[in-house]
């Protein structure tokens, strides 16, 4: 095997693969990536047996072939190289790297041992705008709970419907939902019938957003009962650039729509930045259950923040905001509130509260596509 390509490209993709390729003591082949020189292309594969990625880049191949190299060493080494074309040359059990004045060789493993990445042979797919989808996904992915006791909610729920794609995640204390509407964002479904919904593992959701995140193009989704496959195309030519596969979490996602409150007793509209500042100041004084109390009085359009801690002291501050509805006092875990606020992109935030310890809702002003539901802390 012998091939030449731009170092820049190689570095970019290796960064993305680092989180996927896992450290396995029992099975060293899982620490490696598979490098394959094809005609005009270089192909790199990585997998942890849950997620798999195949990536292609244009390369000048002099001799076709494949090899498996330890990812960590390979990628650390590339960081020291000058930004010039790099030559990869497989000789016996070594991969020779040549780039400017640098010449080194890395010991390789037999490529036959590298896991095969299962590709879905399905002509039906859904096409989506990459950037919108990945941004939406990252807005909910962190909420999912990693608990293995409830596998259904350990992942991110995706529902592909006729007029929208919905994504949701919950850890049973809070829930985030993002909707991508069809007409504005231009997604098209070819050969898909009715609704499809599935649960992807949290790690896969994170990596999916990370791997495709920056692309402006569209990407294609296809499904099989156990698997999801996403593929994108190269800008320069019609060849595939990236294929991403992940297992799905089996089970039925809870009927989460029922969690989203249909009504509220009090509504606040506040500038997001100030809201976050007040919350963070109050959080410094919060006790061990992270409790921050919020008091709303619609009459004088004030939102008060209160927290106290036996060891540290107590804190009180108030924020001018538009408020309507009944006066209310309610406590939250400040981490949960801050996590929700961080995903809100608008300048002003709507915060809807309920009496009797009902769930509260955070949403951006003027953007119906995102909402974040959070349960309060029991009043004491």
């Amino acid at each position: 095997m012998k091939t030449v390509l731009l170092l820049e490209k190689l570095k970019q993709v290796l960064q993305k693969l680092e989180k996927i390729s896992q450290k396995s003591l029992t099975h060293p082949i899982l620490n490696t990536i598979l490098i394959k020189a094809e005609k005009n292309f270089l192909n790199i594969s990585a997998t942890d047996l849950e997620i798999g990625i195949k990536w292609w880049a244009l390369a000048k191949t002099e001799q076709e072939g494949e090899t498996a190299v330890p990812l960590h060493l390979f990628s650390s080494f590339l960081n020291f190289l000058p930004n010039k074309p790099i030559t990869l040359h497989q000789k016996n059990n070594y991969l020779l790297l040549e780039c400017g004045p640098y010449k080194s060789q890395i010991k390789t493993l037999p490529p036959e041992d590298f896991p095969l990445i299962p590709i879905i042979q399905n002509k039906n797919f859904i096409e989506l705008k990459t950037a919108d989808f990945c941004q939406g996904l990252s807005q909910v992915a962190e909420i999912a709970s990693p608990s293995s006791a409830r596998p259904e909610i350990s992942g991110v729920f995706l529902s592909f419907q006729k007029e929208a794609v919905k994504m949701a995640a919950t850890d049973s204390f809070r829930l985030g939902e993002k909707t991508i509407f069809a007409e504005e964002k231009g997604f098209s479904a070819k050969g898909m019938e009715g609704e499809t919904s599935l649960i992807i593992p949290q790690k896969a959701a994170r990596e999916l957003a990370g791997v495709f995140g920056e692309g402006n193009e569209n990407f294609k989704f296809s499904f099989s009962p156990n698997q999801i496959m996403v593929e994108s195309q190269m800008k320069e030519t019609s060849h595939i650039e990236t294929i991403f596969v992940s297992r799905l979490i089996e089970g039925e996602y809870p009927a989460y729509q029922e969690i989203i409150p249909k009504k509220h007793d009090t509504q606040i509209v506040a500038p997001k930045g100030e809201f976050i500042n007040h919350l963070k100041a109050a959080s410094l004084f919060a006790g061990k259950i992270n409790e921050v109390t919020i008091k709303v009085n619609a009459k004088d359009s004030k939102v008060e923040f209160f927290s106290q801690n036996q060891d540290l002291g107590e804190h009180r501050s108030s924020l001018q905001a538009k408020a309507k509805g009944a006066p209310l006092e309610i406590s939250f875990n400040h981490r949960f509130l801050a996590a929700g606020l961080a995903q809100i992109k608008s300048a002003e935030v709507i915060f809807e509260l309920q009496k009797n310890e009902g769930p509260a809702v955070l949403k951006p002003l003027g953007d119906p596509s995102y909402l974040y539901v959070v349960m309060p802390i029991k009043a004491s």
């Binding site: 060293p28 849950e50 896991p115 293995s148 809870p254 009927a255 309060p376 802390i377």
Partner: protein, 451 residues
């Protein structure tokens, strides 16, 4: 040779020819799912393993299988979910109970059955007031469909109807997991009917109910006046009943007193077992409080239990609310409240303003119940449809508020106190003989105290 033995033989041979790392990676959680004719179906945990076995080891596996049994001509690989997942499902839920951070209740509910696992027979306190419904529910859950069908449980708010209903469902699921149980509140049922009419999916809606073995319908009184829903429910009811499927229903009043309920439904409800939950007596209330306190790990002196039990009489949910206040106190102060503190904490709950009846409230509730104007009730009229409610109003004024008879007479347009005495005694007499009247009065009282 069974599938398991076959696969053990394959594993034993194949481990000799490949590296231990490969063996551990690719043959973990594999097995033979089924053998049909010449085809063996091998179950694998994920698509990576499937791909690998198909492409790399298929020949070796087939060769070994063929040597064990020459009928085997082909091996196929299917992805199955590891069965271990379901077992530890319940574990995680328990540990959250003690925390203050509230979570979404909806997530605990099983999606198939709509049942909340929190409600079981084990944590249901039985007293004289609910002995019959409890026994009937227990019998039904042991032998669904063949005793007491339908089972109709009725009683006031917060007395444990939903708990019993869900317990029946949970018990059936626990005992016979193949039985399909469906719990649905009348409200949900109604919105289901409406949306399936809108989306023209009535058939799908019906089949979903026709397939269940135990149908539990909560708060059936909300079907009142919803004719189309009643009709759909009637058909579902009939088809289930004919197939000996169990139906359990709850309501806040007996079928006779549910207004605007189709006669054919009413008679069907009455055709099964009717069991009512009345208000718990003092001793049971104390027992319930103790059980609930133990659940919350709250240690209290008996005096407090007795104080709560003697002050909150009609509603178990309210008693729970009172306990919750004490739990909050205990958490904050790290010590259980003593009797003095408890009484202070519970002042608001016990003396809630909504619980006080006034003469005006009683009169307007009676007028409301019999669909009259308040003015008619107090004016001098001898029409039969007015005289009867008026006498009931007088009875309630005397019975609930201990008003003097002259006061009652004056309240009704200056009637003589003897009229009030006559009315009171008449109703007392009737009350003892006429069961239906008792129920009417119970409903009026609820109107007075709960709104």
């Amino acid at each position: 040779m069974t599938g398991e033995e076959l696969w053990q033989a394959v594993l034993a041979q194949i481990q000799l020819s490949i590296s231990p790392a490969n063996f551990a990676t690719w043959f973990k959680n594999t097995g033979i799912a089924s053998v049909k004719g010449g085809e063996v179906y091998v179950s694998v945990p994920n698509s990576f393993t499937k791909e690998w076995l198909e492409k790399k080891y298929d020949k070796a596996i087939l060769k070994i299988l063929h040597s064990l049994d020459d009928a085997i001509k082909e091996v196929k690989y299917i992805i199955t979910r590891p069965s271990a997942l379901k077992i530890d499902k319940r574990k995680g839920e328990q540990s959250w109970l003690a925390q203050d951070q509230l979570e979404f209740d909806e997530l605990k509910v099983d999606r198939e059955t709509n049942l909340n696992p929190r409600y079981t027979f084990e944590n249901f306190v039985v007293g004289p007031f609910n002995e019959l419904p409890h026994a009937a529910s227990l019998a039904v859950s042991k032998n669904p469909g063949f005793v007491y069908n339908p089972l109709f449980i009725y009683g006031g708010v917060g007395l444990g109807k939903t708990h019993l209903l869900q317990a029946v469902g949970n018990e059936v699921v626990k005992n016979v997991s193949s039985k399909k149980v469906k719990y649905v509140s009348a409200e949900k049922f109604i919105s289901g009917v409406i949306s399936s009419i809108k989306n023209q999916k009535m058939e799908a809606f019906k089949t979903q109910y026709h397939q269940v073995d135990v149908l539990v319908l909560d708060d059936v009184q909300f079907l009142a006046g919803k004719e189309k829903t009643q009709e759909e429910f009637f058909h579902i009811f009939n088809s289930l009943y004919e197939k000996n499927r169990q139906i359990v229903i709850s309501s806040d009043r007996s079928p006779k007193t549910i207004p605007a309920l189709a006669e054919r439904l009413r008679s069907r409800f009455e055709g099964g077992m009717l069991a009512d939950i009345s208000s718990p007596d003092f001793e049971t209330r104390v027992a319930i409080l103790k059980a609930k306190a133990a659940e919350r790990q709250l240690v209290l002196v008996d005096e407090i239990f007795e104080y709560i039990a003697s002050n909150i009489q009609k509603n178990i949910r309210e008693m729970e609310g009172a306990l919750n206040r004490l739990v909050a106190y205990q958490k904050l102060q790290n010590q259980p409240p003593d009797a003095q503190v408890a009484k202070r904490l519970l002042k608001n709950v016990v003396l809630a303003p909504t619980r006080i009846a006034t003469p005006n409230k009683i009169i307007s509730a009676v007028a409301n119940f019999y669909d009259l104007k308040e003015k008619d009730l107090v004016e001098a009229s001898r029409k039969r449809e007015i005289v009867w409610p008026r006498q009931i109003a007088m009875f309630l004024l005397r019975n609930e508020l201990k008003c003097s008879f002259p006061f009652i007479g004056r309240r009704f347009n200056g009637k003589d106190h003897t009229t009030a005495i006559y009315a009171y005694e008449k109703i007392v007499r009737e009350y003892q003989q006429n069961e239906k009247l008792g129920e009417e009065i119970e409903l009026i009282k609820r109107l007075v105290y709960e709104t």
